[in-house]
Symmetry: C2
Subunit: 204 residues, 2 copies
């Protein structure tokens, strides 16, 4: 089977996840080297945490402080803007729904929107869970704000995000970012090197 005929790599993330932010700016270039595509799946990590029993890093003593330090360090390393957002975490329904609405029309635009939204939240501290803020980010990409606001209020788009989240949980996704390569699961932006090795070698 040629690389072109292979299934895309699945990339799961929550718009409220700093490590998802870091991965979003890496994954397509990394996977693209192997002539593979990436299918993005924003999801509601809180729903997965209800199943796994995990909690947001910000709520965890000691580990939360380390994470705060690590996010800033990782942003410096990757030369990405970083502004610890407040509130954090957020229930990022608005950008996730907007993503799926855009994805049905123009997947490349949907990814551009996602990167802009992640950058607005983690790089500028703008609360992207507010629909009007999400719409403003879309406006910067030529998307009419009234269309985006109307779209994310429709039952069909709400259901799409719910179905994607349910499917992610069914596939064992418990954190953000999470990658699935030909059925093989990888959790964390720390594991991009392993995703690359897996793509290189076809597994071991």
């Amino acid at each position: 089977m040629s690389a072109q005929n292979q299934e895309p790599v699945d990339f799961y993330f929550d718009f409220s996840s700093p490590y998802g932010y870091f991965a979003a700016f890496k994954i397509d270039a990394l996977v693209g080297r192997f002539e593979r595509a990436v299918r993005w799946h924003p999801m509601m990590l809180g729903a997965a945490m209800k199943v796994s029993g995990n909690r947001p890093l910000a709520d965890q003593p000691i580990k939360g402080d380390y994470a705060d330090h690590d996010w800033a360090r990782m942003a410096r390393f990757m030369e990405l803007p970083w502004a610890r957002p407040e509130p954090f975490p957020i229930a990022a329904l608005a950008p996730a729904r907007a993503f799926y609405w855009l994805d049905e029309r123009d997947p490349a635009l949907a990814k551009d929107f996602a990167k802009a939204a992640l950058g607005a939240y983690f790089g500028e501290g703008r609360n992207i869970s507010v629909p009007e803020v999400a719409a403003g980010i879309g406006a910067g990409l030529g998307i009419a704000p009234e269309d985006l606001l109307a779209a994310i209020a429709t039952p069909g788009i709400k259901e799409r995000l719910k179905a994607e989240t349910d499917e992610a949980i069914r596939r064992g996704v418990f954190g953000s970012p999470f990658f699935i390569v030909d059925g093989e699961p990888f959790w964390g932006s720390d594991r991009l090197w392993m995703v690359k090795r897996w793509l290189q070698s076809g597994g071991w």
Copy 2:
């Protein structure tokens, strides 16, 4: 300040931690490239979890299953033996105490003992929390079993492990492995690449 005058890199781990096992077989070679030494600190991760509120991976739905899969995959990648131990996790007091007893006499022998104990537990499934099993591993390195068994029962060695664990928690160690390089904390065997970059560059 020349590299030789610098403080050693601190390596914290629990003998019951698979990722600690993987890191133990990597860290000295990695750090040694920068003419730096590594000081090993076995600790009781359960005590740190009481403070951080974390739980053993084996107890976590979904994430625990992923970890099981990942440990076997990582062992294959590193070409290290792997036999999912049972019972797991264990309260690995015996090998941790034996380590500190040996470390006071011969730090290189203490590291050899630690690697042999980790290999026995994770590579062969032998329960190293049983004092006689730990003593048998020492015997393979020329350490008289009766001396090791007597040493790990002394109040001084018990107190040493407790003090090391308390100090680890005070320094913010919440997982295994955990590295501290010139005051900078790094959690996880996934972050050995970052430890290396930090040593190369002096930070960023």
